[in-house]
């Protein structure tokens, strides 16, 4: 392909940066493929070792390296106009914000929740889940409403 000549919009090229679309050499594609397969093997192998919290971090780290390789080479981001990378990154940033702010909140109030507890599902009645200040008798009695007395008091 030749140089783009009359770009219709100034400052923004009509077709990529510099000379036309970049053709990725076959050797690069195959090398990326080999790296991806190797990383897949590595991530499976890593689960055989108990590294505590690091297991998740390693799995996510390897997945991110793989994703980066796919995006840079298979998806041409390395050769294309940076705007595309910016759009892609914007999506990731907002997903990150969404997950992190939501997670921050749900972790914070987790101690108040009690899912799966029979006391809260449809099949059961809440049974005074927290210790009350005084002893609890199961007597259900009550006077009729005495509005007069209250307003007087």
């Amino acid at each position: 392909m030749s140089e783009p000549t009359s770009s219709p919009t100034q400052g923004e090229p009509a077709a990529g940066r510099g000379s036309g679309p970049h053709v990725v050499p076959l050797a690069v594609l195959v090398a990326v493929f080999a790296a991806l397969i190797a990383l897949t093997y590595l991530t499976v192998a890593a689960t055989h070792y108990d590294l505590g919290d690091w297991n998740l971090a390693i799995a996510m780290g390897i997945a991110s390296v793989k994703a980066l390789l796919v995006a840079l080479y298979f998806m041409h981001l390395r050769y294309d106009h940076p705007l595309f990378a910016l759009i892609f990154a914007a999506g990731l940033v907002f997903v990150f914000l969404f997950i992190s702010l939501t997670l921050l909140d749900t972790l914070e109030y987790q101690s108040d929740t009690d899912p799966w507890a029979d006391t809260l599902t449809r099949s059961g009645e809440p049974q005074t889940p927290m210790p009350l200040r005084s002893g609890s008798r199961t007597l259900n009695t009550n006077p009729k409403r005495k509005r007069g007395e209250l307003s007087a008091g």
Binding site: S2, L26, L36, F74
Partner: protein
């Protein structure tokens, strides 16, 4: 249209006149616009799956034990095989874009066919995995109608779950009884089904669009002067791969 000078004139000419929409000035402008549109679309896909990843993150952070219990029911071997298949299909897809850029129609067709085969292999393996889970009701296995609206029956076989889970120690320190673990693990299958199901739908959609460009390649539409659709479909297919790259460790490789 001086950009055509590096091309065989008749090809460049065909590219310009047949596929250049009236509101674009040049094929470059059209190609760039199409690619921009595709990247914007991919971003919406990322946000779309982002919601699912968020639900996953919230549940995994709050109930890690469910995920440890749940992953015992998935086959790492099948998952890893599918990962390899999808990565290979990504390679062939990237290769087909390269072939189109170099006007190698036969290579393009061969690569697209290989990609399609890989997509079907992926779905086949997925089917094997799903069938095994459907048998035990671990993912919805039947449609019925309630108040005229369709519903899917999702009734895990508790005896089966109890039997399998009894072989594994309680991953939470709470020492919960087996009944509670059986009830809790259900949510893992719910999330598993939502994430992989939506991904599988994207694979099916990918098969559709790859078929479409395959037909167009057979008609000889693509060349170095016009290969936009191959590139756009390629980007979409790589994104499907990219999402699976995260799904695999998150669902199958839990320690």
């Amino acid at each position: 249209m001086t950009d055509a000078k590096a091309l065989p004139p008749e090809e460049a000419d065909a590219g310009h006149h047949r596929f250049l929409a009236h509101h674009f000035d040049s094929p470059e402008q059209q190609f760039y616009t199409g690619k921009l549109g595709m990247w914007l679309f991919l971003t919406t896909e990322i946000l779309f799956f982002g919601g699912l990843f968020c639900a996953y993150a919230v549940y995994r952070a709050n109930h890690p034990d469910i995920f440890v219990d749940g992953h015992h029911f998935l086959s790492t071997a099948l998952g890893a095989t599918n990962t390899a298949v999808l990565i290979f299909s990504s390679l062939t897809m990237a290769w087909s874009v390269r072939s189109a850029q170099l006007s190698r129609t036969r290579g393009l067709i061969a690569c697209l066919v290989t990609t399609l085969v890989c997509a079907f292999v992926f779905l086949g393996i997925k089917y094997v995995e799903y069938a095994e889970k459907m048998e035990h009701g671990l993912i919805p296995n039947r449609i019925y109608f309630e108040r005229l609206e369709p519903r899917l029956a999702f009734e895990p076989d508790e005896a089966y779950l109890r039997e399998k889970l009894s072989h594994y120690a309680d991953p939470s320190a709470a020492g919960e009884d087996l009944d509670l673990r059986v009830r809790k693990v259900r949510i893992f299958f719910g999330i598993y089904f939502c994430m992989t199901g939506l991904h599988a739908l994207h694979v099916i959609a990918g098969i559709g669009v790859i078929l479409w460009i395959l037909v167009r390649s057979l008609k000889g539409h693509f060349s170095s002067a016009y290969f936009g659709p191959v590139d756009y479909v390629g980007l979409y297919w790589h994104l499907v791969d990219l999402i699976w790259i995260y799904l695999f460790p998150l669902l199958y490789l839990i320690h």
